[in-house]
């Protein structure tokens, strides 16, 4: 059960870190190349940490690389939100804000986990997440309340992205079992604070939250968008072309 939960934590960060790293060298301004790389580096570091622990919990001798490079897409447990292609910089930064705002609440709760290793890791990741949240929130306001064009782009990005956020607080029996032992929080209880934070920021950015339904998703069960397979094919190609090789 904990293995499954750690995969979620690790995969969300691995996939989003990978997506962000795609910007490296192609950002809108050099300072943002650096900032996006910073966030990507933090996320990839967190992914390594959670996946390493997942491998230990599983106890079958798989390390973080084995989990990152040798699982197929149906074995990934990330939310679909993080696997969507980057879009323009506004889409990327708005997604980053949504994920960071969720992570801020989620990690904050996990830092009180009855599992001390997980609690320590969450506390460490939370520190980094505060910076990601601040940076992405500032850009959401800057772009939302910038020019007519940037406002339009950001509103369209929000309309597109918001319905994917339902999955962030989605729970099933894994959560129930771990919750009963005090290892993980009730995600439903985090939904309110997350939405309040998002709404406040969007108001400052002059953006309007869409009121349509959330999308049907299944990332936590290994059912992904068509995008993840392509991403993993690229990510895993070298490692898988040389089974058993050391790098």
């Amino acid at each position: 059960m904990l293995f499954n939960y750690l995969l979620r934590l690790g995969d969300d960060r691995l996939v989003l870190g990978h997506r962000l790293s795609e910007w490296c060298g192609h950002g809108p301004i050099l300072e943002e190349d650096i900032a996006a790389a910073n966030i990507a580096l933090d996320l990839l570091g967190q992914a390594s940490m959670f996946l390493k622990y997942a491998g230990e919990v599983e106890g079958k001798g798989r390390d973080a690389d084995a989990l990152a490079y040798w699982r197929d897409e149906t074995q990934f447990r990330n939310v679909q939100l993080v696997e969507l292609p980057n879009g323009d910089y506004g889409f990327t930064i708005l997604r980053q804000f949504l994920v960071s705002a969720w992570a801020y609440h989620h990690l904050g709760a996990l830092a009180a986990s009855a599992d001390e290793t997980l609690a320590g890791m969450a506390a460490k990741a939370l520190k980094e997440t505060r910076y990601h949240l601040r940076h992405s929130a500032e850009w959401v306001v800057r772009l939302g309340d910038g020019t007519d064009e940037s406002h339009g782009r950001m509103q369209r990005a929000l309309d597109e992205l918001w319905p994917w956020t339902g999955e962030l607080s989605w729970q099933h029996e894994v959560d129930a079992a771990l919750r009963s032992e005090g290892i993980v929080p009730d995600l439903a209880a985090l939904r309110g604070p997350f939405e309040a934070m998002a709404k406040e920021q969007f108001a400052r950015a002059t953006l309007v939250l869409p009121d349509g339904p959330m999308r049907m998703t299944g990332g936590r069960l290994g059912r992904h968008t068509e995008h993840l397979g392509h991403m993993l094919a690229e990510m895993q190609i070298v490692a898988r072309s040389h089974p058993g090789a050391q790098w």
Partner: protein, 321 residues
């Protein structure tokens, strides 16, 4: 003290003489000091080329971040490319002390009128290229920049000191990638050798043509912007690198490479300057792709930069109200 933007040819001979005396005494020139217009222009030319090289240089290595074969390698490659962005930013800021702003220099790069290091016009074809670039390209850059850390212009010299520390780290990281591959499976070792075969000669070309044919060398040496000639630096790089290749069992692709026992120099075969000229005149394997990528990033990011400016103006208006 005078304007840094005086028109060409207006330099007062007495001031030039005083300036050259300062250089001869080994003094450091700071942005507010008087300097000949030619000196300022040479610095802007060199520093902007250097900054552009850092930024364009992000592209060949950026090509492999998404395919790095382990998490550790992915993180260290991304961090390296991020460092190069930082170097670019830092040197662009240095040129601003000479009265030229970044936007102007970037326009020159995108227009194709500014130069950057020709090495980045070669493609990165396998993972081993990440090793070869760190080892050879950062390695060559270190030889050059260690010398530039003593440049007579203070901001450039200080930038080089700081940047060189990171380049040293990049070089070790690249060499370690190569060493790991060379000690790995037969396919990995072949990959490493192939990368060395492709990057060796372009790395030697990084130092530029022989001083006899390098139009700027004499002036740069006289003003101590550079302290050593291209050939001397190239020889130093070869001398450092040949034993490193041997130590990991890789073969330098030069049949004429021989050790001169008297001088201790590794004599190398002739460099194909025709290839070099082809690449710097825009016909290298990736010149068009590199510029196209920079242009696309700049164009795609225009709305982001415009919005940031517009938002800052709104903020300022609101706080003034």
């Amino acid at each position: 003290m005078s304007e840094p933007t005086q028109p060409k040819g207006s330099d007062d001979p007495a001031q030039v003489a005083a300036f050259e005396a300062r250089i001869a005494r080994g003094e450091t020139i700071e942005p507010k000091d008087w300097m000949p217009e030619r000196y300022r222009r040479q610095l802007v030319r060199m520093m902007s080329q250097h900054a552009h090289s850092e930024v364009v240089g992000m592209l060949p290595e950026g090509n492999w971040i998404t395919r790095a074969p382990s998490l550790r390698r992915k993180i260290s490659l991304l961090a390296k490319v991020q460092d190069e962005a930082g170097h670019g930013l830092y040197i662009y800021c240095g040129t601003e002390t000479l009265g030229v702003d970044r936007a102007e220099l970037i326009d020159q790069l995108l227009a194709g009128t500014a130069k950057y290091s020709s090495i980045f016009n070669y493609p990165t074809l396998t993972w081993a290229d990440m090793g070869a670039i760190g080892w050879l390209v950062d390695g060559a850059a270190i030889v050059n920049q260690t010398m530039l850390a003593h440049a007579s212009f203070g901001p450039y010299a200080r930038a080089m000191v700081r940047i060189c520390k990171e380049e040293n780290f990049h070089k070790r990281q690249g060499y370690e990638i190569m060493a790991t591959l060379a000690a790995g499976t037969p396919a990995q070792k072949a990959m490493a050798q192939d990368a060395l075969d492709r990057w060796w000669w372009p790395s030697l070309m990084m130092f530029g043509p022989s001083d006899k044919e390098s139009p700027n060398s004499a002036e740069l040496l006289r003003w101590k912007i550079k302290q050593k000639g291209n050939d001397e630096l190239r020889q130093r790089f070869v001398n450092l690198t040949v034993p490193q290749a041997a130590a990991i069992g890789l073969h330098i692709p030069d049949p004429l490479l021989t050790l001169d026992k008297e001088t201790g120099d590794w004599e190398f075969g002739p460099i194909d300057w025709n290839e070099f000229m082809q690449v710097i005149s825009g016909n290298g394997p990736c010149n068009r792709e590199r510029l196209a990528a920079r242009r696309k990033a700049h164009a795609d990011g225009a709305w982001v930069r415009d919005a940031a400016v517009a938002h800052a103006a709104k903020d300022a208006a609101r706080s003034a109200a």
